[in-house]
Symmetry: C2
Subunit: 520 residues, 2 copies
């Protein structure tokens, strides 16, 4: 058997490393073995194996959100990549710069339609800002630069390199890699700021809706100053990629979910949008518009590729709005006894009391996500990642990626059970890498959001077929066993005292702990 | 909130039921709730919930392979569908007729690019023989017929219906559904049979390579008669969708995997191909051709859309080849003691001794797959499903689908641990539906195939990076805990006596049992 190994793969990894890549979330197969060899030769890119591709892509997303550095994924042809699509969908919505490396058959082998052959480009396009099929051994650096540029664009997102084995196996002289510069955000013009100041000043009611870059602490403070001057409220987009909350930051309200709630929430206010899009209904509901604030009450202060922080600061300056010192939040006395059965609100209270400074929370599911984002301002300063695209199975992988991106930080995963099942293999990666992730798994053993939606249309939840498609109680998953199976310590709790003790233990561990919190 | 529910969804399900659909493997979300309601109204289609979409699609594939009846899947927009793509890739290679129903946003909501919006057609096309976007409430029956026709074509495969909620919610008068007729295979002409007989008769060495429909027991018997007359060997394609083996069937050899092995195996024989394709290298290896038998030594007796069984029978008749009674196979005395540590061969021996008549085996992974297909002829008559497309995570879901397709039959899942992790959520479905699936989980805690490939090129398996990307021993998954977490009884065995006892218990249970068989 002749050796297949060349250094095209090494050249590719070196070019990506020069462009800032420091980590590779991998689930390789035969077509990626040259890249596995190359990862051994380029150890400055750290390799993290996962048991399932959705863990790789979700972890890459979390890694980017927390660090702003571009991670790699290494995935096996079309089908392996396909398993990573759901979390790349979220990453695309989060504008997370990720470079997917997908091995493919040698170019001369493709026409034979071997079993694993598929149309990778068609699969990758919907979740990629750029799809580059590498076909020229002399263009490895250029292809890497192309992918880096797309990933680190403004707004950035996943970029995909389809890498035939013959390109990876070819011996090439590594070129001098030219690292691409991250793109810069466009400044919002002084004229637009002045117009916004005038219109906001005249509005009878005002909402500043922040998202993306315009959710940074500086942006939140500028927004608070503006509404301190003009009146009104500051809202955040409903599903931020990452947002800093709590500590001495001013209060911020989250945009609601159902269209009727959003319409009520927005009232007759002028909605000034920075760093995100105008409010859109999450799903289309008969009788409600898709766009929930009419154009005449919308003012786009900064587009997704513009400098929202600078725009908000300039607007505050124009309005001569002074910085606001938020009131310190006296925590309400917990309204529970130690033996009280758990509720989402009690779980949130327990965590508010114990969350360490600078923790990172990975939120998935509305059971704990809603209450947390309502109360987060009362916790110490922390960052929260939410599910940006609605593709479930994000929470656990994203938590793992966050922990790898911020060594020394505590990561807390607030995870609904229904969505947790999609990528539970992330637990293995947490155990393997000894990641300090404390998981509170909200176990209500049902698809709560579906029951909520069905209730809104008065569907019969007790109908045997409808019940069988929305309840997860036959059998009830035992998450402590699932966690143990993947090497993660776990405990099941049913009351406040149990949760408090488990949480204290979890937050003190160097590695992961899963707390199965039983809910009604 | 106005009611969203209409009966477009009911009309669709009734049309698909009229066309033969009897089961729906579902993982619905908000955009599919009208279809959930409709499933309650059309209970003649059985709903099976799974925790992950790859379980739905893999189970649908297994269901079709065993029953030949078209199952439905119900999946949630692009990201939910994406999680099902890997197993649909295998289903496409298996020519399994499956109809995927994917909910999408209402057509009027699509332009707003809500979070879950994506290009579903681009995602679905690579694994679908037809992708139909339903846009006309008066075309529901026609769209259903289109999908059924594609799914049940010759060769058939997955077909995908993209179903906007506004179409499902519309009140329509159900039309008289016209069930589509399954397509018929074309007959191979008498002239081609005569030419084949002549050429085969003159060949110094002969191989009959069977696959697809030409792997049926009748086809295998006709092939045995032909080589009984002319000399030569009967081979099966390396990854059959489903093949009947054992009992009184004649011996059949499996096409090898690596190109050098296939080239040796084929020697200088004339290779007569029925129901499958000419031997192609699974991957492209430098120095080896993609097509492993040159055109001049190939004779295509029947194409994929032709009647391979009839062609083999006609060829046997033309050659006046008499039916062959295969020698009964005296089982070799097991070369082990009860306390012998397990090996793949010992596991296979234990199962050969115990497998009940008419069992169905779902094979995934070469650890047990290779030895089983070498020895299967010594077992009682049974059917084997293999991984047709190389997308891993097929074995457990496919076993679940097979059990649902053949009530009363024993299903055995011979599953490698590496690939088992991708869709372990299938265990929950097995527990929930009390499926008589006995799983032998070959736990070697590594990606054996990758180590084999790396060994072929003398890569350093002990290099820390290469080891970290090919070994699964840190931590070792505890499959008994994973199974318990999903409600499946499980036992870990390390020696022959332990395996024998576990297997006897598993094969006597009404529900699933997972046997974690530890291997070196």
């Amino acid at each position: 058997m002749p050796s297949q190994r060349g250094n095209g793969a090494v050249a590719l990894l070196k070019a990506l490393h020069a462009g800032g890549a420091r980590i590779c979330f991998a689930n390789p197969g035969t077509t990626e073995l040259t890249l596995v060899d190359a990862l051994a030769e380029v150890p400055e890119i750290r390799s993290i194996l996962s048991l399932f591709e959705g863990v790789c892509t979700g972890a890459a997303d979390g890694y980017f959100r927390v660090s702003g550095e571009v991670p790699l994924t290494l995935l096996h042809l079309g089908p392996g990549f396909a398993n990573g699509i759901a979390n790349l969908h979220n990453a695309r919505r989060a504008h997370s710069g990720i470079i997917n490396i997908i091995g493919d058959h040698a170019q001369w082998h493709l026409p034979y339609d071997a079993p694993l052959t598929s149309d990778i480009r068609s699969l990758a396009s919907p979740v990629s800002r750029a799809v580059v099929t590498m076909t020229d051994i002399n263009a490895i650096d250029a292809d890497a630069a192309h992918a880096l540029e797309a990933a680190r664009g403004v707004p950035g997102g996943p970029a995909t390199l389809i890498v035939p084995t013959d390109i990876m196996d070819t011996h090439v002289a590594p070129a001098a890699a030219v690292p691409a510069q991250p793109a810069q955000r466009r400044k919002v013009s002084a004229e637009r700021i002045a117009q916004a100041a005038e219109r906001a000043g005249q509005a009878p009611d005002l909402i500043l809706l922040l998202g993306g870059d315009a959710l940074s602490p500086e942006a939140q403070r500028a927004a608070a100053a503006i509404v301190g001057k003009l009146g009104g409220r500051v809202l955040m987009e409903p599903y931020p990629a990452i947002v800093t909350l709590g500590g001495d930051l001013p209060p911020i309200e989250r945009q609601a979910y159902f269209p009727d709630d959003v319409i009520r929430q927005m009232g007759e206010a002028l909605v000034v949008v920075a760093g995100t899009r105008a409010p859109i209904s999450y799903f289309g509901y008969e009788g409600y518009p898709s766009q929930l604030v009419p154009d005449e009450r919308l003012l786009i202060l900064s587009e997704l590729d513009e400098d929202g922080v600078g725009a908000l600061q300039a607007l505050a300056e124009t309005l001569a709005a002074a910085a606001v010192t938020p009131a310190t939040h006296a925590s309400p006395a917990p309204a529970s006894t130690p033996d009280a059965a758990l509720t989402p609100n009690l779980i949130v209270e327990s965590l508010i009391e114990r969350l360490p400074e600078d923790a990172i929370i990975s939120l998935e599911g509305s059971t704990l996500g809603g209450p947390w984002l309502r109360e987060a301002r009362r916790a110490k300063r922390h960052r929260v990642m939410t599910n940006t695209g609605g593709a479930i199975g994000q929470g656990l992988p994203c938590a793992a990626g966050a922990a790898l991106a911020a060594p020394g930080s505590r990561v807390v995963s607030l995870q609904s059970d229904g969505s947790g099942h999609y990528t539970l293999q992330a637990l293995w990666t947490m155990a393997r890498e000894k990641l300090p992730v404390t998981i509170i798994l909200a176990a209500n053993h049902r698809y709560g959001i579906l029951q909520t939606e069905l209730n809104r249309v008065e569907a019969p939840l007790e109908d045997p077929v409808i019940a069988s498609l929305t309840r997860l109680d036959n059998p009830r998953a035992d998450w402590t066993a699932l966690a143990a199976g993947y090497g993660v310590e776990a405990v099941r709790v049913t009351d406040v005292a149990g949760l408090n003790a488990a949480l204290e233990r979890g937050l003190s561990l160097d590695g992961p702990l899963l707390i199965q919190a039983e809910l009604p």
